[in-house]
């Protein structure tokens, strides 16, 4: 499949109210800011479940969507980087699911890789494992974790080719390649869009089959 080259506004029209939306980035580094802005300004979709390591920062990135009251639930490892998100959780305005960062990453990987669930020792015996199935493996307590899958993933890559192959730069890679695999529809924002053949095949991190729509970064 080939990614379609489109505008940010057109691409985010795939997001419907009630959807689960994955958003790449570690804080704002590697976050698809053009797509987030389009979601904030051009879309009416609300009641969203956001899967992202952080809920942006106050008034920046996903922090804009939070201020619009369009997030119903956040699944993250670290809400603290946006104090407004923590306040919204404490006020009961949004529901929070806190996940250890490695479990969060692996659950997204599993969601894109057809894995039904996985056991990890991380979190066993802590508040974050309450209510989860446990098994002792090799004498060590493990927790059963479900994969995470989304309706739409928004990812950022420094470079793409017109097929949708993606290349990431430095620590802006983070969750983006995982999320690109784990949604029904993946929209990639690219800093630079190259012709087919201009990316070294060995340097492609996300093969184009995962990418449905391609948008140039603003």
């Amino acid at each position: 499949m080939t990614a379609t080259l489109t505008t940010a506004a057109e691409a985010v029209s795939a997001i419907r109210s009630g959807d689960t939306v994955m958003v790449g980035g570690f804080g704002l580094v590697g976050a698809p800011l053009t797509l987030i802005d389009a979601l904030v300004e051009e879309s009416d979709a609300t009641d969203l479940t956001i899967v992202s390591n952080n809920i942006g920062e106050p008034g920046r990135g996903l922090g804009k969507l939070l201020r619009q009251g369009r997030i119903r639930r956040g699944i993250s490892s670290y809400f603290t980087s946006n104090p407004e998100a923590v306040a919204a959780v404490n006020a009961g305005e949004i529901e929070a699911t806190l996940v250890p960062q490695g479990t969060f990453a692996e659950a997204i990987r599993a969601g894109g890789a057809g894995i039904g669930a996985f056991f990890t020792p991380v979190g066993a015996g802590t508040q974050l494992a309450q209510g989860k199935e446990e098994r002792v493996i090799g004498g060590v307590r493990h927790v059963l974790e479900a994969p995470i899958h989304a309706d739409v993933a928004l990812v950022y890559a420094a470079r793409a080719d017109t097929l949708g192959n993606l290349w990431y730069r430095r620590t802006a890679r983070n969750f983006n390649p995982l999320m690109a695999t784990a949604a029904d529809v993946t929209i990639a924002e690219a800093g630079e869009i190259l012709e087919v053949g201009e990316l070294e095949p060995e340097s492609v991190v996300t093969p184009h089959i995962y990418v449905d729509h391609l948008v140039a970064a603003a």
């Binding site: 570690f26 804080g27 580094v29 590697g30 390591n53 993250s76 490892s77 670290y78 809400f79 603290t80 980087s81 104090p83 998100a85 923590v86 306040a87 959780v89 404490n90 929070a96 806190l98 996940v99 250890p100 960062q101 490695g102 479990t103 969060f104 990453a105 692996e106 997204i108 990987r109 990890t120 020792p121 991380v122 979190g123 066993a124 015996g125 802590t126 508040q127 974050l128 420094a158 990431y168 730069r169 430095r170 620590t171 802006a172 890679r173 983070n174 969750f175 983006n176 390649p177 995982l178 991190v205």
Partner: protein, 218 residues
């Protein structure tokens, strides 16, 4: 000697790191440790947002918006560095490929339980990679002051804050002493900066065994 207790803790913790070890440094006191590591030691720093081979903080003219550590602070990458996605990064951690995690804590118990992510009643909602690191790293070093800002002991019989992991700590370095968890026993192995056993006992509610070894620092 530095008058700052946090810098002294970092300096003592740095002596626990061996040549060529792969080390992940948490936020706070652990982030002071690089100043005490000579390049001849060849310690390789890992940051869980996707880089092995973290270099010094950049000068203002070297800032790269795509290059940060897990504290979201700017860093550099050393020759030989490698970038990877978040699932690979935590596979390194859980898979036992990271030798040492150094992190701060609110409390450590006599059994080596660590509490470092949640303070009931405070506006924090984040665990980040802490649970993954303390479970996965081969050696876990806790660096913290002996008492909280309110004067409460932090090496305690049982943790009162929510746990990060049970039985995970191997070494605890405070401004007064070094404790080691050996065979399920908390041992006071070193006194720092002229502290006495009584000084340590006065701010430690955990039961411990005095097993002093030769001091690393004058």
């Amino acid at each position: 000697m530095s008058p700052d207790p946090k810098a002294r803790i970092a300096a003592r913790a740095a002596l626990e790191l061996g040549p060529g070890e792969v080390v992940n440094l948490g936020i706070g006191i652990p982030n002071l440790i690089p100043a005490f590591l000579g390049p001849e030691m060849g310690v390789v720093l890992h940051t869980e947002n996707g880089l092995l081979g973290v270099g010094p903080r950049p000068d203002a003219d070297e800032l790269d918006p795509d290059l940060i550590d897990a504290a979201k602070q700017p860093i550099t990458a050393l020759p030989g560095a490698a970038y990877f996605d978040s699932a690979s990064s935590f596979a390194m951690i859980r898979g036992g490929h990271v030798d040492v995690a150094v992190l701060g804590a609110l409390e450590v118990s006599a059994a080596g339980d660590i509490a470092n992510w949640a303070v009931p009643g405070k506006d924090v909602l984040g665990v980040g990679g802490a649970m993954d690191l303390v479970v996965g790293a081969r050696r876990v070093i806790v660096t913290m002051t002996a008492t909280s800002s309110r004067g409460q002991p932090k090496v305690v019989a049982e943790c009162t804050y929510p746990l990060t992991a049970a039985g995970a700590a191997d070494i605890v370095v405070t401004e007064l002493s070094v404790f080691r968890l050996v065979d399920g026993e908390l041992r006071l192995t070193e006194l720092l900066d002229g502290a006495t056993v009584d000084d340590v006992a006065a701010v430690t509610t955990a039961p411990f065994v005095v097993a002093l070894e030769e001091s690393h620092v004058g």
